[in-house]
């Protein structure tokens, strides 16, 4: 008997253990309150553990969601920054184009008198000469009717004269170059002289030489084209007197002029292709330039 028990130990133990759940099932079927009594401590322990676990899970999920939200906000911020930079660039571009439009409008408005019938609008595409430019290249040539020695002006004043012409492009010698010479006069007086370029390494300059010492030439005087012996019409502003110097013999004086046109920034020009001569309308034009300059 004992041997049989030894061999069937497992089954006996299993049967003994299986009595426990069977008894529990029987008791619960009789009175369901037994279930509540049995499960209460287990639910208490697991409830406590589950409470802690859910707090941890909520903290982790909140952190993840916050991180995602921040990442999304950060991505949004980067996109907005990129857009803002783009807008800034476009605004700067717009300002530039508006400025260009104003300059071109000024150019067409100022050179619109009866004397300036034959004019060709051109854009400066290149400069040459170092360190300061001597010539500029424009994008119009003989095909448009430009010839050598045609006067070139901008909305600010005289720029130069056409030096070389090809079919589609032209080179313009700036008035500040030493090989340039224009007959000029001082606005509001009879003082006349020849304006030559005096460009050094630092700035664009001109000089008006051999002026009578008795003439009333002072610093700040406005020098305009006289319209004589050149293809420039009269009254086109050239520059302002920076300083007046006298010769050793005190018979003659000469003046250093600063050009009105910013030679380093000239972009839009008109090439005057007509044959301009001195006319009475010069007085009206001079008054027009005066009003604009002042």
């Amino acid at each position: 008997m004992w041997l049989l028990f030894e061999k069937s130990k497992k089954i006996v133990f299993a049967l003994v253990l299986s009595i426990i759940p069977l008894v529990l099932i029987y008791l619960q079927n009789k009175d369901y309150k037994v279930r509540t009594f049995l499960s209460k401590p287990i639910v208490e322990i697991t409830g406590f553990a589950e409470g802690m676990a859910i707090k941890i899970c909520e903290t982790v999920s909140d952190s993840i969601f916050r991180h995602i939200a921040i990442s999304k906000k950060y991505d949004e911020l980067l996109k907005l920054r990129a857009l803002s930079n783009e807008v800034e660039g476009l605004t700067a571009q717009l300002a530039y184009f508006q400025n260009e439009l104003l300059r071109v409008t000024n150019l067409t408005n100022t050179i619109n008198g009866p004397n300036f019938k034959n004019k060709i609008y051109a854009k400066v595409i290149a400069t040459s000469g170092a360190p300061l430019s001597r010539t500029v290249r424009i994008n119009k040539g003989s095909k448009e009717g430009i010839k050598v020695r045609n006067a070139v002006v901008s909305e600010q004043g005289a720029v130069g004269q056409v030096l070389n012409v090809s079919e589609h492009f032209s080179d313009v010698l700036l008035i500040t170059d030493s090989s340039s010479a224009i007959d000029a006069k001082v606005l509001g007086s009879n003082v006349r002289g020849l304006v030559r370029g005096l460009t050094n390494n630092k700035e664009y300059l001109m000089q008006m030489r051999d002026v009578d010492a008795l003439s009333d030439l002072q610093d700040g005087a406005i020098v305009v084209t006289s319209g004589l012996n050149s293809l420039f019409p009269s009254g086109v502003p050239i520059g302002k007197v920076q300083k007046v110097f006298s010769n050793k013999d005190d018979l003659w004086i000469w003046a250093k002029l600063v050009p009105y046109v910013s030679m380093s920034r000239v972009e839009h020009v008109n090439v005057l292709t007509g044959d301009y001569t001195y006319k009475k309308e010069e007085e009206t034009l001079s008054q027009m330039w005066n009003a604009e300059i002042r």
Binding site: R35, T46, A53
Partner: protein, 172 residues
């Protein structure tokens, strides 16, 4: 006793944690059962008497937390343990693919045993959801290695392994 205690306690904590996670998980993943995992662990690391004790205790825990009559899961565990403990292959330590297969088989067998006990022994009307029966073993097989890993670490920490247990050979 130490083994029974740690196995039962960790099963209870595991079930608590899983029930918390099921709040965040999609409902189709809420098919995990701790009993088959505990059965496989006890088949591999515990003696026969300890296996039965763990089966009964874990079954009582599961029934208490699931809202069904306490004792059904215990009987199902006992049936599974009695049948599988006589098959030597489940008593051996195995590698990962075979372990997964064992887990799938035991989980499916346990669910069938539970259905049998619930329907035929107790006469309750139950629904057998085929999708749950198919997906459940897969989820059990995925989570079982974590349970095993933690329990083995606890056993090692509290020196619950006996001389003949070779914990280093687990999932060789």
């Amino acid at each position: 006793m130490k083994k029974i205690f740690f196995c039962s306690l960790l099963s209870l904590l595991f079930i608590s944690f899983w029930q918390t996670c099921s709040v965040f998980l999609p409902s189709f993943l809420n098919v995990f059962l701790i009993c088959p995992v505990a059965i496989l662990f006890s088949l591999q690391f515990l003696k026969f008497n300890e296996m039965l004790a763990v089966g009964v205790i874990v079954g009582i825990f599961i029934d208490s937390l699931s809202g069904i009559t306490i004792g059904i899961s215990s009987i199902a565990c006992l049936i599974v343990i009695l049948v599988l403990s006589n098959i030597n292959m489940f008593l051996m330590r195995v590698n990962q693919p075979i372990f997964t297969f064992y887990m799938l088989f035991i989980s499916f067998f346990y669910r069938l045993a539970f259905l049998f006990v619930n329907t035929f022994l107790l006469g309750n009307k139950t629904n057998f959801i085929f999708a749950v029966a198919m997906l459940g073993p897969v989820v059990d097989a995925l989570i079982a290695p974590l349970f095993f890993f933690v329990l083995i670490k606890i056993f090692a920490l509290f020196k619950a392994f006996e001389h003949h247990d070779q914990k280093g050979n687990f999932l060789a």
